[in-house]
């Protein structure tokens, strides 16, 4: 207990010190919210494995360390981020938790579409940001949201006005390692960033947003104990107006010693259609909390996830879909591949509230185990308080099917190729659901690279 208190005190102290640097000029409302979030975080403390929602994930490694806020990011060489770029997209970049202003898109944005830094937006157009910021991600219950909110300073604000259809995807790159610690510019210190993203989709608008979390190789990554570790504590809030269509893709491929804790909270108005795709490839300790509230009648959500876990990675996916209005539909599909000593977790909860009659909810989680030392937990959960509902869930754990393998072998395809094809095929059900072609192809490429003996593409000819 004393250690935890010490760490809480550390964050409290950091909080009080950061009156400067990026926290200036915040509207009073934000300042107040940050203070209450800090108080709440100190009350809540880091979650422990004794808590139901955290029973499979110990955050001990991050709770025991003093993570420092980063200072100004060093200038970014455009070539280093080239591999992550996506053709035909509006690109923005956040490094060390701060928006990089010269990377913002300037041309071709339809009228009224806003893509800008959160700090900048809070300064210049607070009336558009404040009605939404902090309204969806609840810091009263979730410690990491509280911590993020307490240190809220920058990130990205995206707004698409009513009736606007944005063809090109908006691509936001988050660099976690490209910064040094606030204290003494010491690159040896563990660094925490709290990127915050707010997406406001107006009624009948349409857009695709990709959040892409990466570590730059050869950056400040160090192998020393405690040194150079990065901890990304991201919060994204999305509000989908009535009749809007939002496709949200989250790709996380940070380095394999990074800690990444993310909360995505979506709020859906009536007849909105939201796709949420969570692709997890990187990180050592990863926790994704992806939630949506179907607040308006006729709203639909397709929640997809893919987690590729190897080495000693620990990836915990928690999702929650709240059916709060009648006639809503949710389709959830999560797939995981576990190799080496990886530990994958899926915990999906669907809550059907008493008024949400005519709900249609399906949930499926399928897992492939490639090694005996890997581990998987899958907890698909239904909590239903209405009676006129159709809810099903299913989950499976298995391995490469020997009969399918036989089919390949009998056609002269060698075992290794067949294995790669089968694993790759297993991921397709998730990847193929991403709407935007360029995004889908880029995700598919990343997944191919992950595959055993991963090559960019697999040719069977």
């Amino acid at each position: 207990m004393t250690e935890t208190t010490a760490i809480n005190d550390f964050y409290r102290t950091t909080f009080e010190q950061c009156g400067q640097e990026g926290f200036l000029d915040q509207p009073e409302a934000v300042r107040q919210m940050r203070h209450s979030a800090m108080d709440r975080f100190v009350q809540l403390g880091f979650p422990t494995t004794r808590m139901e929602a955290w029973r499979n994930t110990s955050v001990e490694p991050v709770a025991a360390l003093e993570f420092h806020l980063p200072v100004e990011a060093s200038p970014i060489d455009p070539r280093t981020i080239e591999p992550f770029s996506l053709r035909d997209s509006f690109q923005a970049m956040v490094a060390g938790g701060r928006l990089v202003p010269d990377q913002l898109p300037h041309d071709g944005l339809p009228q009224g579409v806003v893509i800008r830094g959160l700090a900048d937006a809070l300064k210049r157009i607070p009336e558009q940001v404040l009605p939404h910021l902090g309204r969806y991600a609840d810091f009263n219950e979730q410690a990491f949201v509280a911590l993020n909110t307490a240190f809220l300073s920058d990130g990205v604000f995206i707004q698409v006005p009513e009736g606007t259809l944005l063809k090109q995807p908006i691509h936001v790159i988050y660099l976690s390692t490209h910064a040094t610690a606030l204290v003494n510019h010491n690159s040896q210190l563990p660094i925490i960033t709290h990127p915050r993203t707010l997406v406001v989709a107006g009624d009948n608008s349409r857009l695709t947003v990709i959040e892409h979390y990466v570590s730059l190789s050869g950056g400040t990554r160090l192998t020393e104990a405690n040194g150079g570790l990065t901890f990304t504590n991201a919060v994204t809030e999305i509000t989908a107006g009535a009749g809007s269509i939002v496709d949200y893709v989250r790709v996380q491929q940070e380095s394999d010693d990074a800690a990444h804790i993310a909360t995505v909270q979506t709020h859906q108005e009536s007849d909105s259609q939201v796709g949420m795709h969570t692709i997890t490839i990187g990180g050592k300790l990863v926790r994704n909390d992806v939630n949506t509230i179907l607040a308006g009648e006729g709203a639909e959500v397709a929640m997809n996830g893919l987690y590729l876990v190897k080495g000693r990675q620990h990836v915990d996916n928690h999702t929650r879909i709240d059916h709060a209005a009648p006639n809503c539909t949710s389709t959830e599909n999560y797939r995981g591949i576990m190799d080496d000593r990886g530990h994958g977790i899926f915990n999906g909860r669907i809550v059907v509230h008493p008024k949400a009659q005519k709900t249609n909810a399906t949930q499926s989680n399928r897992n492939m185990m490639l090694s005996d030392t890997a581990m998987v937990n899958t907890d698909p959960q239904l909590e239903i308080y209405a009676d006129d509902v159709k809810c099903t869930h299913g989950s499976t754990v298995g391995q490469i099917d020997e009969e399918t393998m036989f089919y390949f072998l009998s056609r002269g395809i060698d075992r290794e190729t067949a294995r790669r094809l089968l694993i790759h095929g297993f991921t397709q059900e998730i990847i193929s659901r991403i709407e935007a072609d360029s995004v889908r192809m880029s995700v598919d490429k990343l997944v191919s690279q992950w595959l055993p003996d991963g090559q960019d593409s697999i040719n069977v000819s």
């Binding site: 185990m369 899958t378 698909p380 959960q381 239904l382 209405a386 009676d387 869930h393 989950s395 298995g398």
Partner: protein, 485 residues
């Protein structure tokens, strides 16, 4: 549908056909719990020292749990805190009958008995009427005992086993459910009053279904019951617990422990029908049924099968589990849980796969009506050594009425790449088209619902012993009365 809704109202407003009877107990300790109470219980039962020491260890562990964490609260149930100091932990098992003849018994209760087709003498026993000489418990029990003794089966009350077979008790007690297992298991281990003990020797197929139903001398064992069943190599036993009729019972908290042990090639089939007082229609009163049931498939090719029909109790909180230790062992769990009015159930199973090629099947059917809250909570854990393990789980929920809830919380934990595990669950209500089809053919709404519900539960009922299956069907009908929605 207005005619229906009237019928519904009428039926919904039916009261539970049975009330509590409190009478003055003899030889009863004052309420409260401390080490002296445990020493006294142990002394009264003339227990050997090892058992007393075990009880005391359990009690100390319980105190520690109570102080540090209190009762566990993770289950999806709500209830007022239990005052453990107001419970009477020892009452002499012999009680005067509450009534002198069936005429004094609430006629509505008798009606229920009739619906369930319970023989007259049985009815008397259940209602707490003095049993006449013809149906003398001792003589009936003796007949059975002779048959069993011929086969070498030991079937007696737990207290008797402690006196006569202390070595067996010592060898197996607490090896499946240690007193450190959970809060209520610790409490039970400290204060358990009595229960049943079964030992099936090597290669013996128990000649009859063992049942607490006819084991009259050990009835009224109170709220902290402890059952221990050991099936030695190559043996088979089918054990029936509880009965379909509402039991007369004065205890609010029931914290029983059941331990099953199956050695090489042995098979244990354990069936439960639970129909305790569920509380009135406003959710007042009713039994808290917090039970720890676990079976260990210790030997190769052993098999443990749990079948339960849970219709009673205000709160049911139980997870009959199997530890599949022996290679090729099999665990099965078949359950029907029904919650009506304000009943709450959080029930399911745990299947822990340790041995190679172990298999488990889980079939759970939850039915919620009225304001009932029904949760399935189950764990399937496949450990690294359980190569080729296989699990299939299916949990279906049926909703009747818009005030109830049905929840599914499976936990699946796989640590072996050759294991296969499937889980499926669905939740829906009785289809209007199904009801319409039946009504069209002149079947009343109530009968149609009961027909559909029975069809829904068929997979589970099939696993009940014959006579139980018939009664369970009727029981479901009675319990569902007034919930047609």
């Amino acid at each position: 549908m207005s005619g229906d809704s009237q019928a519904i109202d009428r039926l919904t407003n039916q009261e539970y056909k049975y009330g509590f009877v409190t009478d003055i107990e003899q030889e009863t300790l004052p309420p409260g719990l401390d080490e002296d109470v445990i020493r006294l219980i142990s002394a009264k039962k003339r227990e050997p020292d090892f058992l007393l020491q075990w009880r005391l260890k359990a009690y100390r562990h319980w105190c520690k749990l109570y102080k540090e964490r209190g009762e566990p609260h993770w289950a999806h149930v709500n209830y007022a805190p239990i005052d453990y100091q107001s419970i009477v932990y020892y009452a002499a098992p012999k009680k005067p009958p509450a009534y002198q003849s069936l005429n004094e018994v609430d006629p509505k209760l008798l009606e229920t008995y009739d619906k369930l087709g319970i023989p007259l003498e049985e009815q008397k026993r259940l209602a707490g009427v003095a049993v006449d000489a013809v149906f003398d418990s001792v003589s009936v029990a003796t007949t059975f005992k002779e048959t069993l003794a011929e086969a070498g089966v030991i079937f007696c009350s737990f207290s008797e086993a402690v006196q006569q077979y202390p070595e067996l008790v010592r060898q197996y007690l607490g090896t499946v459910v240690p007193y450190t297992d959970n809060f209520f298991a610790a409490l039970n281990s400290a204060v358990f009053s009595d229960g049943s003990f079964v030992y099936i020797p090597k290669g013996v197929r128990c000649p009859m279904e063992l049942s607490t139903y006819f084991r009259i001398n050990a009835a009224m064992t109170g709220q902290f019951e402890r059952t221990l069943i050991i099936a030695d190599e190559g043996s088979y036993v089918s054990y029936l617990e509880g009965c379909t009729a509402p039991m007369r019972d004065e205890n609010q908290l029931h914290a029983a422990v059941v331990e099953l042990i199956a050695l090489d090639n042995a098979e244990i089939k354990y069936s439960t029908v639970q129909n305790w007082y569920p509380g009135d229609e406003e959710g007042k009163g009713g039994i808290y049924n917090f039970v720890t049931k676990r079976g260990a498939c210790r030997g190769v090719n052993s098999r443990i099968s749990w079948t339960q029909v849970e219709t009673g109790s205000a709160i049911t909180w139980k997870y009959p589990s199997c530890i599949l230790q022996g290679d090729n062992s099999v665990g099965e769990f078949y359950s029907v849980a029904l919650t009506n009015n304000y009943q709450q159930a959080d029930t399911g199973t745990k299947m822990i796969h340790l041995g190679k090629n172990t298999r488990s099947t889980i079939i759970s059917k939850g039915i919620s009506a009225g304001h009932g809250q029904n949760a399935y909570r189950g764990l399937v854990r496949i450990m690294p050594g359980a190569a080729g393990a296989r699990n299939y789980s299916q949990c279906d929920s049926l909703l009747i009425g818009d005030q109830c809830g049905a929840h599914t919380f499976p936990y699946i934990d796989v640590r072996n790449a050759t294991a296969r595990m499937e889980h499926e669950a669905s939740t829906s209500r009785i289809g209007e088209d199904q009801l319409f089809y039946c009504q069209q053919r002149g079947i009343s709404t109530e009968d149609a619902v009961s027909m559909i519900v029975n069809g829904f539960c068929k997979e589970v009922f099939r696993n009940l012993p014959m006579e139980f299956a018939v009664e369970a069907r009727q029981l479901l009908e009675v319990s569902l009365e007034g919930s047609v929605g």
